[in-house]
């Protein structure tokens, strides 16, 4: 059997496929077995509950999806009292909790609380959500801020520490290096690009928040280039995402240097995307008698 497993910082994943935060739930396990996922990444939580942005929050374009959700979530307390129990009960695969904050202190308080609970394999630090002001992305665009935040968080945990990066920066390599220097054990990228749509008949923005997040197949070339640049700038592994719909797309990201990939928007257009990619990768590796690790970063 050709090996599809991958190393991700401190952990080994049996499958190199993850879900992108906020695009997935255990509901999908009605459609396929969870073991095709290497780990389950939660929707981003914050210290306090977040209402999110008004509707409309979604608009489908010809090349992808615009969203302006705004990190709606019930907050840390509710997550710990409800969701975490349900997830631990349901999951047989590693659990990664995604969280964000408006201040360094908020990030730290969330992590300190999560550290008290078992059953969590690692964290994804969301410093890249484009839909919340002074939060998320405000942390992810300045390398000094990223370094300081990650350094403080890394001191608090032995668990996998993934930092999720934004594509909406001048030089992603600098941010990636700052996260690595701060003590991140892996990076994930890309969060959504800035996007916008206007109803040409009325001149009205299609979404309640005019400049919002753009995901889906249209961002794949951008995500691939940023994966390539980042994996050449750091030694820690990268979980790549951005417009991956097929196993062929996935292979491109592995060749570019990704150690794992994540599926987001594609879950919405085909709920079986994850198992189909898993099957396609396995078949490809078998046909070429390769292990996944043989091709990571081997673009020529």
């Amino acid at each position: 059997m050709n090996d599809i497993s991958t190393s991700l910082g401190k952990i080994t994943l049996k499958s190199p496929i993850l879900n992108a935060s906020g695009t997935f739930g255990t509901e999908y396990f009605n459609f396929f077995e969870q073991e095709v996922l290497g780990a389950y990444v939660t929707k981003t939580i914050t210290l306090k509950p977040k209402e999110g942005n008004p509707s409309p929050r979604l608009y489908e374009t010809e090349t992808g999806l615009l969203n302006a959700i705004g990190l709606q979530n019930p907050g840390l307390k509710s997550f710990l009292n409800n969701d975490l129990f349900e997830l631990k009960d349901c999951l047989t695969i590693p659990l990664i909790v995604s969280f964000s904050g408006a201040t360094e202190d908020e990030f730290i308080r969330v992590m300190e609380a999560l550290e008290l609970h078992s059953g969590i394999c690692g964290y994804e630090i969301n410093i890249s959500c484009p839909n919340v002001k002074n939060e998320g992305i405000a942390f992810g665009t300045d390398s000094d801020i990223v370094f300081n935040l990650v350094e403080r968080l890394a001191e608090l945990t032995e668990r996998e520490l993934i930092v999720k990066l934004s594509p909406n920066v001048a030089d992603i390599a600098l941010i990636a290096q700052a996260a690595e220097a701060g003590g991140a054990s892996a990076l994930s990228l890309i969060n959504t690009l800035y996007g916008m749509a206007i109803d040409w008949e009325t001149g009205k923005s299609r979404l309640s928040t005019p400049v919002c997040g753009y995901s889906g197949m249209g961002i794949k070339p951008v995500a691939l280039a940023l994966t390539y640049q980042t994996t050449r700038a750091v030694k820690i592994p990268v979980i790549a995402m951005g417009g991956i719909h097929s196993w062929q797309d996935a292979l491109e990201f592995f060749y570019a240097g990704a150690s794992a990939i994540a599926i987001g928007t594609a879950n919405f257009s085909n709920p079986l995307t994850i198992p189909e990619i898993h099957h396609g990768l396995q078949t490809f590796l078998k046909q070429h008698n390769l292990n996944l690790r043989d091709i990571i970063g081997k673009v020529n």
Binding site: E27, N30, S55, Q72
Partner: protein, 245 residues
């Protein structure tokens, strides 16, 4: 809830802009309740990377489930292009359902594509109830079988909005329960007029996942933003913050 790729049993063009699609599936048919919807799209290459469309159930007869779909954009046009035996991708049933009452005076009010879930509801309300069904639309092509029809252009039934005479109906008769589905402006007007009776509305919304995961389809309620796909689509009208819509 399951995901399947199923052959279409029948696709009928029932109006200029409406089609009726029927599938035959025992599991789905046995799981449906009025108000539920499915995420549907044509299994065609052109639709591979497109979102599913949330479509309410119109009719369940035996194992046959029918949907009435207004042809609006590329997704619904692709569905309309299907022929018997061609496949669609479908998952569901999704969302909550209308509570079924008995021995009640019931008013059903639908507008445009809001008709199918109310027609399905009507078929499931037992004979102990007394039901009045009003349907409204832009033109006669938008009207389906009901007690009173309202068209904006006056081409069928009474000229005007479906909400036009409701205040009068309410004066003449007392209703225990009002069920409605249609455009937000219609539901909003209705919520203002109906104050005595219990009112359930089925909300329409743009969706991505259809099962509560993405938080893309929320509406403002007294308990914060609620997902139409998961917390709804059926809501008690008094819980919705209509002024914010």
């Amino acid at each position: 809830m399951q995901y399947k790729i199923l052959p279409v049993e029948k696709v009928e063009k029932i109006r200029t802009n409406y089609i009726q699609i029927t599938i035959n599936d025992e599991e789905f048919a046995s799981q449906c309740s009025p108000g539920n919807f499915f995420q549907i799209k044509a299994a065609l290459a052109s639709q591979n990377r497109r979102l599913f469309k949330p479509i309410s159930v119109f009719q369940v007869e035996g194992y046959h489930i029918s949907f009435i779909i207004k042809v609006i954009g590329p997704g619904t046009r692709a569905l309309a292009s299907l022929e018997s035996g061609e496949k669609l991708m479908i998952y569901g049933p999704l969302g909550n359902s209308f509570p079924l009452v008995q021995d009640s005076n019931i008013l059903l009010v639908s507008g445009g594509t809001g008709y199918p879930p109310l027609a399905y509801l009507k078929s499931k309300l037992d004979s102990s109830n007394n039901i009045l069904f009003l349907d409204g639309g832009a033109s006669k092509d938008d009207i389906f079988p009901c007690d009173y029809a309202y068209t904006i252009d006056g081409s069928l039934g009474i000229q005007g909005m479906v909400t036009k005479d409701i205040a009068e109906f309410l004066k003449k008769e007392s209703f225990d329960c009002v069920y409605s589905c249609g455009p937000i402006s219609m539901l909003k007007t209705l919520a203002q007029i109906v104050s005595q009776a219990k009112q359930y509305v089925s909300m329409e919304a743009y969706m991505a996942c259809g099962m509560g995961v993405c938080y893309g389809c929320v509406i403002p309620t007294i308990d914060g933003y609620k997902r139409v796909c998961y917390d709804g689509p059926v809501f008690e009208a008094e819980t919705i913050l209509w002024a914010e819509l």
